[in-house]
Amino acid sequence: MEVSDLSILKEYKKNNRKGLELIYDRYKKYVYSIAYHYAGNKEDALDITQEVFISVFKAMGGFKEQYSLLPWIKKITINKCLNFLRAKKESISLNQTTESGDELQNIISSDEITESSIVCKDTKKALEEAISKLPDRERMAVLLRHMKQMKYEDIAQSMKLPTGTVKTLIYNGRKSIKQNLISQGIWEV
């Protein structure tokens, strides 16, 4: 937050590489945090972050100074996230089943530990799990609303959806999260 977008753009005109580095430093955490909560793991989040910045850097030449960078980068991030998992699901669905199979095996083999771990599970993990189980678009909409405190209209614009659709996505998302948290026993203690 030390440097403003305008001074970054000025720097970019003087020295491309330095400018791009400044943009990266300013927005990397923002992009990564959305990607991480959306994808649910470090590797995918890093891949998405990389894709986002490649697109941003490629298009920087045509970026006009009077606009601010954040909404633009936000849009690209959301797009890349939604497309990333779509592409991934299509290509390595087999891997995913083995992954969840492994997890299942672990749970079955140590049921005592699982029970206590469910009881002691903290809210943060429970919430992460509940969010990770939402369908892609619901997850993205809920994250933008609650993690990034965006307005419904802004979410709609960023996701290229009508506001009504965004509201429905968020309602349904919250409903599933609530059910999931109840089933995880978070609030019963």
């Binding site: 490649i54 943060k124 609530k178």
Partner: protein
């Protein structure tokens, strides 16, 4: 679960502070008498609290995030230089076209295509004649 008399999205709107003023009055009145909705509302409140709690979104940023920058900039730079090669190839093609341009100004060059057409027509009728002659 909330009761059937009320759309459960209204309870979410109430907590979200996006509720219509009239609906707010309606739902507040309803909550006084409906135990199910009060329970639903308190569950939703807990969830909103958890969802809105920034500590729940705190994550560790991996070291790769810092080191990745150079790699990304280099990758973009390489692609840009590739497009420079394309520009060079286009230029070469243009040069070759230009070097053949003089052919257009050679005497009789414009008629070459017409002459070729006529010649081929003559050729066709000639062949026909030869065939019928047999």
């Amino acid at each position: 679960m909330s009761c059937n008399k009320v759309d459960s999205s209204l309870l979410q709107d109430l907590l979200d502070e996006t509720i219509d003023p009239l609906e707010k009055i309606f739902i507040e009145n309803h909550l006084r008498t409906c135990k199910d909705c009060r329970r639903e509302l308190s569950e939703l409140k807990l969830m909103f609290w958890d969802l809105g709690n920034k500590a729940n979104y705190e994550i560790e940023y991996p070291a790769e995030l810092d080191t990745m920058c150079d790699h990304i900039i280099d990758a973009v730079a390489v692609e840009e230089s590739k497009s420079n090669t394309m520009y060079f190839v286009d230029m070469q093609i243009n040069t070759m076209k230009m070097s053949g341009k003089y052919l257009e100004y050679m005497p009789g060059a414009n008629y070459t295509s017409q002459m070729l057409k006529k010649a081929s027509k003559g050729l066709a009728s000639g062949v026909k004649k030869m065939l019928t002659a047999k």
